[in-house]
């Protein structure tokens, strides 16, 4: 029994990407010094986007408020450092997981009952509420100044003694390791009974219920898992960025996550990953060019939705398919000729 997989959903593509992410780091540090950290940010964002796409690509729910969980992971890390003096990165991550789990459960119980536009607006609203709380309770969160986080302890070891380059490199491979594990888990999820059930619900809600699937519960699971991924990403992001500010929970950040995912192609497993990496570079490049990066971002979103709805991976697959056709027709012509 062969289930044909294309590039977008082939596990081998994932291996290639991970390998590339490992190799590109030193390459960049030589060719374009200073830009290799963008790769690390890309990896961290890819974790958030992977989780997000479980919700969008596989469950069919468009959340405009995923920054809420990302910000939650970041703030939990910051607050743990500020009030308890915690420095372990693994503990930050655990905190991010726990906070996202609880918050997504509470929010999800209500929000997941509604689909489509209601769901999108509700998630946007939740994110905005969190953002406003981060901003207003400044005596706890530092308001717009945010919370500063020093270099964390990784696997128990303090990293303050490391040189700048050494720390950045270490952080990159550490994040990459997390990414690899989380991507593998997500791969298993999408190919598990849960993954199939989500796809069924996204495709035909009515038939799904007639076949005994509990749509509500499935969507809730998907929501929670995607939130946890975003929370982990936030916890990884905070120490790298050294600063946790409210704009991590602002709607534009949610918009970035949405954009990354569709840029890569939300119908494919590796789409969000590719989208995140490319987006990170795009953003760094654009911000370097002009302050009007929202204009560029917005225009790109429009352009992609009109012209290239399947994203980059979709465009690649289409080109490959056409190439395959071409080869086949050549072969047929040769045989008859």
């Amino acid at each position: 029994m062969v289930i044909i997989r294309r590039i977008g959903n082939d596990p081998r593509s994932l291996y290639v990407i991970i390998a590339l992410l490992a190799i590109l780091y030193p390459v960049l540090s030589i060719l374009r010094p200073g830009w290799e950290v963008v790769l690390t940010y890309g990896v961290i964002l890819a974790i958030a986007a992977l989780g997000f796409n479980l919700l969008l690509g596989y469950t069919g729910l468009l959340s405009f408020g995923h920054a809420a969980f990302f910000g939650l992971g970041a703030y939990v890390s910051g607050l743990m450092y500020k009030y308890i003096g915690v420095r372990g990165l693994e503990i930050y991550i655990a905190g991010g997981v726990l906070a996202s789990l609880v918050f997504s459960l509470v929010v999800g119980l209500v929000v997941v009952r509604y689909t489509r536009i209601f769901f999108s607006i509700l998630t946007l609203a939740i994110a905005q509420v969190l953002w406003s709380l981060y901003l207003k309770f400044y005596w706890v969160t530092g308001g717009t100044d945010g919370i500063k986080i020093p270099r964390p302890d990784i696997v128990g070891m303090p990293t303050t003694y490391m040189s700048y380059d050494a720390f950045q490199a270490f952080y990159h491979y550490y994040s990459l390791a997390w990414f690899a594990i989380l991507a593998y888990i997500m791969w298993r999820i999408t190919n598990s009974p849960l993954g199939y059930a989500l796809r069924a619900v996204r495709d035909n809600e009515v038939r799904s219920s007639f076949v005994g699937l509990s749509i509500y519960r499935l969507r809730l699971y998907s929501f929670m898992i995607s939130a946890i991924y975003a929370g982990i990403a936030g916890a990884l992001y905070a120490p790298l960025n050294r600063l946790v500010t409210p704009d991590l929970a602002y709607w534009t950040f949610s918009g970035k996550i949405v954009f990354m995912t569709i840029l890569g192609g939300f119908k494919y497993f590796i789409g969000p990953i590719v989208g995140s990496i490319i987006y990170s570079f795009l953003e760094s490049f654009a911000i370097g060019l002009t302050i009007y990066w929202q204009l560029i971002l917005g225009s790109l979103i429009i352009a992609i939705m009109l012209l290239m709805r399947e994203g980059i991976i979709g465009a690649i697959e289409k080109t490959l398919a056409r190439y395959r056709q071409y080869i086949i027709s050549r072969r047929i012509n040769n045989k008859s000729g």
Partner: protein, 254 residues
């Protein structure tokens, strides 16, 4: 029918829609292994009866006892879980999933593979084997990788029915399983259905309009008219009742 196990007992079941009595004081006993055809003119209450038994409608009055248990208040999904499954007249498939994946869904659902947390961590080989087997039984193995939109009408119908069977029901209710299908395919489909019903010992209630099919494949016929059951017996008993014949002919063409 005598001596067999009674699995479903419908007592004084009624469903009123305002002034209309869609189902009017129906009492029935269904036995394990029954192969029932429900016939009657349009508006007789056949689909409403199935809706009541499968839980998509609440009765105005009466009760439904299933394997000795009162299920009148049970919701549709829980009825699926205890083995009461129905199909619909219009084919409704997962158009963006392959045929194989279509069959996999109800199997996974039935095996409760999804509600267990562990489900995210493993692949459920058994379910996939069962899916392959089910496709083989229904003769759809060679189309496993295709999408429902690429199939012929008859195959789509077959797949739709296969999805219903994949839930391993004890009581299956099919709403016009051969409608919208060519005459030749009708018999092929019915043969397949009956073969599976017999092999697995599933009890069935099938709404059908095609009298050839009804008399060829049923073992018990229930005739409904204006919400009531007006006849209930073996095909031979029903076949020679003139009042039924004129009702049906009048009903079908009226």
């Amino acid at each position: 029918m005598a001596g067999e196990k009674e699995i479903l007992s419908i007592r004084d079941l009624s469903k009123h829609f305002g002034g209309v009595r869609a189902v009017d004081r129906v009492s029935l006993k269904i036995f394990e292994g029954d192969r029932i055809s429900i016939i009657g003119p349009n508006g007789a209450g056949k689909t409403t009866l199935i809706n009541l038994i499968s839980g998509y409608l609440r009765p105005t009055r009466g009760s439904i006892i299933y394997y000795g248990r009162d299920i009148t208040a049970l919701n549709p999904i829980d009825r699926i879980n205890v083995g009461i499954v129905r199909s619909f007249q219009l084919v409704n498939l997962f158009n963006n999933l392959t045929v194989f994946e279509n069959i996999l869904i109800p199997i996974l659902s039935r095996r409760r593979a999804i509600s267990r947390f562990i489900s995210i961590a493993y692949k459920d080989r058994e379910a996939m084997d069962e899916a392959e087997e089910t496709l083989r039984i229904f003769g759809l193995s060679d189309k496993a990788d295709r999408y429902p939109t690429d199939l012929s009408q008859g195959d789509r119908k077959l797949l739709d029915i296969a999805l219903t069977f994949a839930l391993k029901p004890r009581l299956i209710m099919l709403d016009e399983p051969t409608s919208g299908v060519s005459t030749r395919d009708k018999h092929l489909i019915m043969e397949k259905i009956v073969e599976i019903l017999q092999r697995a010992g599933i009890t069935s209630m099938i709404i059908e309009h095609d009298m050839d099919i009804v008399f060829k494949y049923s073992q018990r016929i229930i005739v409904m008219h204006q919400g009531r059951v007006i006849a209930d017996g073996k095909p031979d008993e029903i076949r020679f009742r003139d009042d039924i014949k004129s009702l049906l002919i009048g009903g079908i063409y009226a």
